[in-house]
Symmetry: C2
Subunit: 396 residues, 2 copies
Amino acid sequence: MRKIVIAMAMSMLCLCAMAQQAIWGVPQFKSPEVNADKTVTFRFVAPGAKEVKVTGDFLPVEKVKTPSGEYEAPGSALLTKDDKGMWTFTTSVLSPELYSYSFIVDGLKTTDPTNVFVIRDTGTLTNIFLVDGGHADLYKINNVPHGTVSKVWYNSPSLGMNRRLTVYTPAGYNDGKKAYPVFYLLHGMGGDENAWTELGRAAQILDNLIAQGKAEPMIVVMTNGNAALEAAPGEGSTGFTPPTILLPKTMDGSFEASFPEIVRFVDSNYRTKADKSHRAIAGLSMGGFHSLHISKEYPDMFDYVGMFSAVIMPDKGVASPVYDNMEQKLARQFSKAPKLYWIAIGDKDFLYKANVDYRKLLDGKGYKYVYRESPDGHIWKNWRIYLSEFVPKLFR
Amino acid sequence: MRKIVIAMAMSMLCLCAMAQQAIWGVPQFKSPEVNADKTVTFRFVAPGAKEVKVTGDFLPVEKVKTPSGEYEAPGSALLTKDDKGMWTFTTSVLSPELYSYSFIVDGLKTTDPTNVFVIRDTGTLTNIFLVDGGHADLYKINNVPHGTVSKVWYNSPSLGMNRRLTVYTPAGYNDGKKAYPVFYLLHGMGGDENAWTELGRAAQILDNLIAQGKAEPMIVVMTNGNAALEAAPGEGSTGFTPPTILLPKTMDGSFEASFPEIVRFVDSNYRTKADKSHRAIAGLSMGGFHSLHISKEYPDMFDYVGMFSAVIMPDKGVASPVYDNMEQKLARQFSKAPKLYWIAIGDKDFLYKANVDYRKLLDGKGYKYVYRESPDGHIWKNWRIYLSEFVPKLFR
């Protein structure tokens, strides 16, 4: 059998460089390696390269100048080469967080060949690693009861297609007959029904908060807010179509108008507590915009509303009944006193001023909301933190 | 709002090179592009590179010599550079299939930065593309009713941990009260509970065969056969641990012995037809070995058994009651006349002879089985084809 194992391993070698290294005695190495002191070491073997850099969100941002103005991008750091062609860089001590990075080899961006853990953000794949401790422990898969994450298709008559959802049911859902509250969790522009579980670590955050007794067991439904699409890139009938940010029908009212179809589907396919006091809706960026407009359009549907770094106002050029009479609809919504209307944004977010203006509008009318301001800008780090803080406030 | 959209897009640019290209007017290009004549064009921008190659399973294999012998690896093809630094290669006409590839830039293997579609095979990420038509149409997400794919955790007392499963429930499962037959589908060495849905396109194959009326609606349970692990790499409490092929407790009898725990979990958590005539088990390579030994160990559990490129005999050095008295147990299993015992292998598979020997053993005893021989070796192309052929034979 040892022979068979070796033969099998050999035959898989064509596909598996790591095993090759293990078997042929090439020294194995780790990249990235999170060291005991929470510095992180990156390694890349490229004897012929002239320059190897690492770029990622753990490095200070750099200003990038473009014809259309200046913007901030993750900085980079140079690796140094040893006499065997191994390039290395060790960071300073990093605070707990889920980080992403890429290598830049002689000017070309590439994934880390020794790290298979990647996440896609719209059209880019980046490697990830986790520095644990503090709030980042909520992003780990701990040894606690785990909920089920399902990819489920529902029919949308108003959008004329079957569409894909990600549904989290909490640990214990299958063991009993209990009904659960439902939290609808919406992605931003360029995202899809996979974003919150992949970039947002939603299943881990829910598992851990529920296990710690800090959140009620709940169903979480993660929708696809791109009303022209069935599903995330590669998951619908258009096949392996490259993702893009600027899609049609993302903020034209059609997703918002169709939302009751999703709620009906969930209420008829899951054991839900099907009333306003057991429903929450929240989203990031465009998903915050969707949450704002869905919750005011259907004021008897959600008692908990969360807007994470939200876009606020619809484009004046877009004609949709959903966006008509916004102030009247807000008046109606707040007359029905939602239990929680939660607005969170980073102090460096490009939507900061839009949120200041929106809070002024709410303040002027005396509408009750809770405000949370964090450091940093329009980034997933903030949205994971907001999710971790919002979920414990629901349904209790 | 246009301003907001552009500002949002700009802020996402740090993460999204494609949008950057679209917005800053850099010419966009597709890679890979499946052309109308089913040739495929690869493109890679690297003005400073000296040599760019593409390697993938659509190219003729090459012999690679190593200190331990010769083996076959996917071949490579040179791209040619134009005056703008764009490298290009167009294949000959490709037959329908799901293919994988990587670029090799000045000797370094890298993913295609314009293609976010990747699959992990043990420790390697490769890009994928699909040439449709023929049997490969079963691998597409067609506009048919879709089943649900769930990541579910079950408790294994015998292995002492909670463990992860992938469960496919067919379209319609949630609409009624009907009970379904169950097909247990097992991965090979280096694989896990994600392998059959990611590399094997199992959900698409099932959706399409069921929609075409060629297969019975069924539940498919994809297990993790690495008994030392809770879950696929990155999905268990060990965090982002690099995958390896050679794991402890993969073929030592412990997974096979624990299998009734999985069947009990499925029968108590899903609406199943909980009897032998409504249960199938099949697997590839190590999963074929597991299927062989589980089905003979529990001869009243499965009426349908599939062995795809299976390892046959246990290592003589491994002591497990599961592997004792193999011939007696086979005699008992075949005395109970399983409805289908299906053996499939490629004529270039390194396990071909082991399968010839096993068929001789079965022939010598007069045990009934069905044999399917295909071209090619120990590769996913064959396993997807075997799955597509095996599923229509079940439960009818």
